[in-house]
């Protein structure tokens, strides 16, 4: 498993610079979620509103043009479901 913290001060990057852009992806915010979105592709018109409004940027288009959320990061805010015009997304309890 990747170390969360540098072991010693010597491993602290000069000036506290983080050299790997976007490496916050190692922090999985999916655990914050108590509700999760579920897509009903039969209703989906592939407009992408869910993708555009996701504060996490964790919704992406699959090869067929439908949308899926990366559950490693989805915090379950419910915006996608609330904003989905054709009501293709439902928010359900986790578990």
């Amino acid at each position: 498993m990747k170390k969360q913290w540098p072991e010693t001060w010597k491993e602290y990057n000069t000036g506290g610079i983080v050299f790997e852009p976007g490496n916050a992806r190692s922090f999985k915010t999916g655990s914050w979620r108590s509700m999760k979105p579920v897509w009903d592709n039969a209703k989906c018109i592939k407009c992408g509103v869910c993708y555009l409004f996701c504060p996490e940027g964790c919704i992406s288009e699959d090869k067929d043009g439908y949308f899926i959320a990366d559950m490693d990061y989805c915090k379950g805010c419910g915006i996608c479901a609330h904003e989905c015009w054709p009501c293709a997304i439902t928010i359900i309890e986790e578990g």
Partner: protein
């Protein structure tokens, strides 16, 4: 070597900074450093220096702007005094934490209130713990030399820390005196071009100025402390190199007529030379007294100080600032702490002198040296020299 020219020290400092071919300067006017700001902008306006000169709306923004510029890999400069330095205070430790090798000129001045525009060291002492390298010029020539040295020290890959060059406000900044300037070729030989270790640019996106949780903050502090402690090696090397190239010697603690001295007087900044006139006068009378002038304040020169005071019985430390309700002047506090573990340490007395432009004549230094043996020596004692009771 070129011949000395008569020039105001602040103007000479700006010329020295220009010789270092800086890329970005941001300076906000404040007495007594203003002439640096004015003259540097003249140099840029005349096209003698290709640099961006940002006429910021505050000192806080002055340092912030040079930090932004330094992060892009630019060689940067700012200057200030007193209230301006106080206004910068928030950003000072961030500059050292981010390891940005900014050079700052300080025309040292008392701190309000009451409002006072004249010289002492209250401003820099209040910023003592900001993680900056701090050096003090004793005369105009040293100020010019130190600005050029400063860039080399700060930008050294083993250092990467901001540095302030202190020169006494008015006593130095407004003094026309003889200065020998190195030529551009000499400066170019001495000072390599700045090679930043990381820059903010889309070619290699990185994040600067990140947040440290309790799990990492201590390590971040340690890393910076080690950097500033280790910077002394580079400082000594740069000073040695300077001495070789230009024939002017720089030491963390300069000794003057210390051979056989039982009493030593320690000063920092431009009063050192006046004090030396007092030493000369007393030596003629047979008094065994010598003088020390601290040029390196951060990192603190523990070994050099210890060596310099060896054999003396009484050490008179003069401070140009007071820690209210504390153990006296900050210089003396640190000298006492530094020598505490030395069993052969001298007795130490502390005089707070020259506050807010109060003049110090040769006679004053003689009086201090003559009365010091009777002064209370222990328990953090100090006295404000010349205060009217």
């Amino acid at each position: 070597m070129t011949k000395p020219v008569g020039i105001e020290v602040a103007v000479a400092a700006a010329e020295a900074v220009a010789l270092c071919n800086i890329d970005v300067a941001a300076v906000y006017p404040i007495t007594p450093n203003t002439h640096i700001a004015e003259h540097l902008s003249d140099i840029v306006a005349d096209g003698r220096l290709d640099a961006e000169y940002i006429t910021v709306e505050s000192e806080h923004s002055a340092l912030s702007a040079v930090m932004g510029a330094s992060a892009t890999g630019a060689r940067t400069f700012t200057a200030t005094s007193s209230q301006g330095l106080m206004y910068m205070h928030e950003v000072l430790p961030i500059a050292s934490a981010m390891r940005l090798p900014i050079v700052m000129g300080l025309g040292n001045r008392a701190v309000s209130g009451p409002l006072n525009i004249w010289n002492d060291h209250s401003d820099i002492m209040l910023q003592r713990d900001s993680g900056w390298i701090s050096i003090f010029a004793e005369n105009g020539q040293e100020a010019v030399d130190m600005f050029i040295q400063a860039f080399k020290i700060a930008e050294h890959p083993d250092v990467l820390l901001p540095i302030n060059v202190n020169m006494d406000g008015f006593q130095l900044t407004h003094m026309v005196e003889p200065i020998v300037f190195p030529t551009q070729t000499q400066v170019d030989q001495f000072l390599p071009s700045y090679r930043p270790f990381a820059t903010i640019h889309p070619d290699k996106p990185l994040s600067m100025g990140t947040l440290a949780l309790p799990e990492i903050y201590t390590e971040a502090v340690k890393a910076r402390d080690v950097a500033i402690v280790n910077s002394k090696k580079v400082i000594l090397r740069v000073w040695k190199e300077w001495g070789k190239q230009f024939g002017r010697k720089y030491e963390p603690v300069k000794s003057y007529k210390t051979a056989g001295a039982e009493t030593l007087l320690l000063t920092m900044g431009s009063m050192g030379e006046t004090a030396e006139e007092a030493i000369d006068a007393l030596r003629k009378k047979g008094v065994k007294v010598g003088h020390l002038n601290m040029k390196l304040w951060r990192p603190f020169p523990f070994e050099e100080l210890s060596k310099a005071v060896k054999g003396c019985k009484l050490l008179i430390v003069t401070d140009r600032a007071l820690s209210y309700g504390g153990p006296g002047g900050p210089l003396c506090s640190e000298v006492r702490a530094a020598l505490y573990d030395d069993p052969s340490r001298p007795e130490i007395v502390n005089y707070i002198i020259g506050l807010g432009g109060r003049d110090m004549r040769v006679e004053d230094f003689m009086k201090i040296i003559e009365t010091a043996p009777k002064a209370k020596k222990s328990g953090g004692a100090y006295q404000l020299y010349g205060v009217r009771e």
